[in-house]
Chain length 241, copies 4
Amino acid sequence: MNASAAISELAIANRIIAHLRLVDSFGHITVRNPENPARFFMSRARAPGLVTKEDILEFDLDSTPVDLRGLRPYSERFIHGCLYKSRPDVMAICHNHAHELLPLAVTKTAMRPALHSAAVIGYEVPVWDIRDRFGDTNMLVTTNEMGDSLAATVGKGKAALMRGHGSVVAGKSVQDAVFITFYLRLNAEVLIKAMSMGEPITYLSPGETDRSGELHSEAAAQGRAWEDWCSQAGIATPSLK
Amino acid sequence: MNASAAISELAIANRIIAHLRLVDSFGHITVRNPENPARFFMSRARAPGLVTKEDILEFDLDSTPVDLRGLRPYSERFIHGCLYKSRPDVMAICHNHAHELLPLAVTKTAMRPALHSAAVIGYEVPVWDIRDRFGDTNMLVTTNEMGDSLAATVGKGKAALMRGHGSVVAGKSVQDAVFITFYLRLNAEVLIKAMSMGEPITYLSPGETDRSGELHSEAAAQGRAWEDWCSQAGIATPSLK
Amino acid sequence: MNASAAISELAIANRIIAHLRLVDSFGHITVRNPENPARFFMSRARAPGLVTKEDILEFDLDSTPVDLRGLRPYSERFIHGCLYKSRPDVMAICHNHAHELLPLAVTKTAMRPALHSAAVIGYEVPVWDIRDRFGDTNMLVTTNEMGDSLAATVGKGKAALMRGHGSVVAGKSVQDAVFITFYLRLNAEVLIKAMSMGEPITYLSPGETDRSGELHSEAAAQGRAWEDWCSQAGIATPSLK
Amino acid sequence: MNASAAISELAIANRIIAHLRLVDSFGHITVRNPENPARFFMSRARAPGLVTKEDILEFDLDSTPVDLRGLRPYSERFIHGCLYKSRPDVMAICHNHAHELLPLAVTKTAMRPALHSAAVIGYEVPVWDIRDRFGDTNMLVTTNEMGDSLAATVGKGKAALMRGHGSVVAGKSVQDAVFITFYLRLNAEVLIKAMSMGEPITYLSPGETDRSGELHSEAAAQGRAWEDWCSQAGIATPSLK
């Protein structure tokens, strides 16, 4: 995939995450430049549901824009730059406030996968609390220092919850980042309801998480969802192979 | 903004709050006349999803109509007149029965913000119970005395829950009133689920509330949501700046 | 209103209750023949969302069809006939399985109004359990004896929950029956969430129920919702007066 | 019904279960070949919402494809083959991850019917845990040994929950399999909410389950839902008889 194809896919991903309500008017998804790993692509500051290719800007890993073209960047671009810097394996990142997972973000409950398709979130999703290190802030990740702190919490994992805010997800591709975000939210919804029932929860074992996570990271699984989501969001795609 | 532009924006806001289901067939949003702070604009009694510019009437701060043109006014216009009277800084008000926040209105739980975007609701949303002062009523705010009582509960704040009824939200602009209402509802939903889980909730600190509230009151944040909501509701808008 | 107008309104009501998801593929709404109080109109057995004027049949108060025209009647028409017989003031009835109120129907929790607009359900909604008198059945109300038993539980009230099944609502008009059903469901949803939170619930007082119930039974309130629901369901209506 | 008609109905059923969100991008529904009970029809691996007649493949009861035509089969086809083998009365099977029933699948709560229309699920829906016999896996049913184990848990019943995964439903026809799946999900939703309320649940008695289950297995009931679901999913159907 070259840079131009990556930008096209990123525009589609914005449309999809809005359609699936993984984001509301806020949140953002980015992709590392496949032609230059020291750069990433991100929309200007705009609701994801409205983003087009023309809105996409390029940033370096300090989250400095290469050329703003007079547009306003997202103030939280540091989430992305810092995580790309610390994780060369990560090719796409989605920061979201998916409404259904927020109850876990306000209770500081670390999340583990209980669903086979949610194995892609990894063994446990840690909670990052900006207040622990930065005290009273406006809650946004607006500096490289904050971004580095969040990236350290993500560590080698797939995601972190952000206390009082939402989550961040790291994928090996744009489709992977959307897929993980979708099943992170579903896992949260299911856990919240199960906790409300007061019944003990059976989580996936580490072995199940490894094996089911690997399976659901393959193109066969993720491509099936992607074709479906494109169709739901009214986006024409080449047929499934 | 002149009076005519305020009326246009008010008609759009009616469409948006209906589309977002912040109101059902009941509830209303108003704007202070920018050309005359002793007057406000409000639709005739009609479901917000159907309101057009032709439905908008003008009232003085006693909630007396300037010219009814044969139309029926909302009986709860006193919510608005009294709050505009007590709060010169308030330029728009939304009274709603958003279904998702009603569980808090029947349990008399005072709400505090737990989400960064909900910082706009202020430190705590008090609950006003019409029965405390007025005994058994039909639950509607239909006199200036009742409206003054509710306005006193709102005080210098952004909102109040109304026991067994809904909420009222005070904004510095139409967009602000809609934004606060949207995140008031989301904060309620998240708290209700978190309480059901039986986990301790981490609220925003007062400092976080101040800083995140200020940030989310800016045009950069609110304009992004407004552009998105207009698009979702099928309303053409000038492009985002 | 003559019989022909009643039939037209009944067809519209079927469309609306399906659009509002007050019914799924099952459930039914009926209207007493305004030209002959010993008869009522009801669709043939069909999902409410598909009912047209051509599907409407006439029944006497024993729920015997006047002329089936080769069509299949609902087997639960006795719910309607028996309630019209016992309650001359009732002009329309809605039997539904609205999904959101079913948790109350499986826990046998008698429901009281906690929301001002739900005052129309009356002081308390009793639960009728078919098993109490009829033992093990297929759960359907398929005889006049069963219908009389259910009507006795409704008594002079507005509604009854039916254990393991749904609810029945009695209105003074088609619009009233739909309005009560809508707010019965909302009241159920709100109570279920409030109970899950474990917080004490503040119900409307009897005086509030009387006064707010009367207010929300007026054409001014119900007509506003009706105009809105017709619009949402894509039904052209004369403008609001 | 001949094989060609069965394939047409299966394509429609795929569209319907996607529209009703009984499946997301995963899950599958199959039908036994009415012309050869040792074979069944199933789509190639694709999101159900996108399946057309051209995607349908034929398999024997070992889940070996008769002719793949270069297409990729679902890896979990063994769920279907093994259940058709053990249950000559079963003509259609739906495997799904309906989101709303998943909280029961992660708590290993055996489900009983509490709603009259859910009597079609039988007295109790057992939970199958792949780990009990197969240890750490990727959670998918990808061998005949696994499929036989799941089929043994279903036994003579209508369904089984699959721990951490979803459910499988066995019907006497395609319409029956969809109907059971729909009300299995609704029963799960209602039980989850009722458990959250902390109120004791009244389940259907065995006699009620038998009688209401029989009634809701008849063409009169299921055809009414089918006509409705076809209409909702935009599928033209012959008129209801």
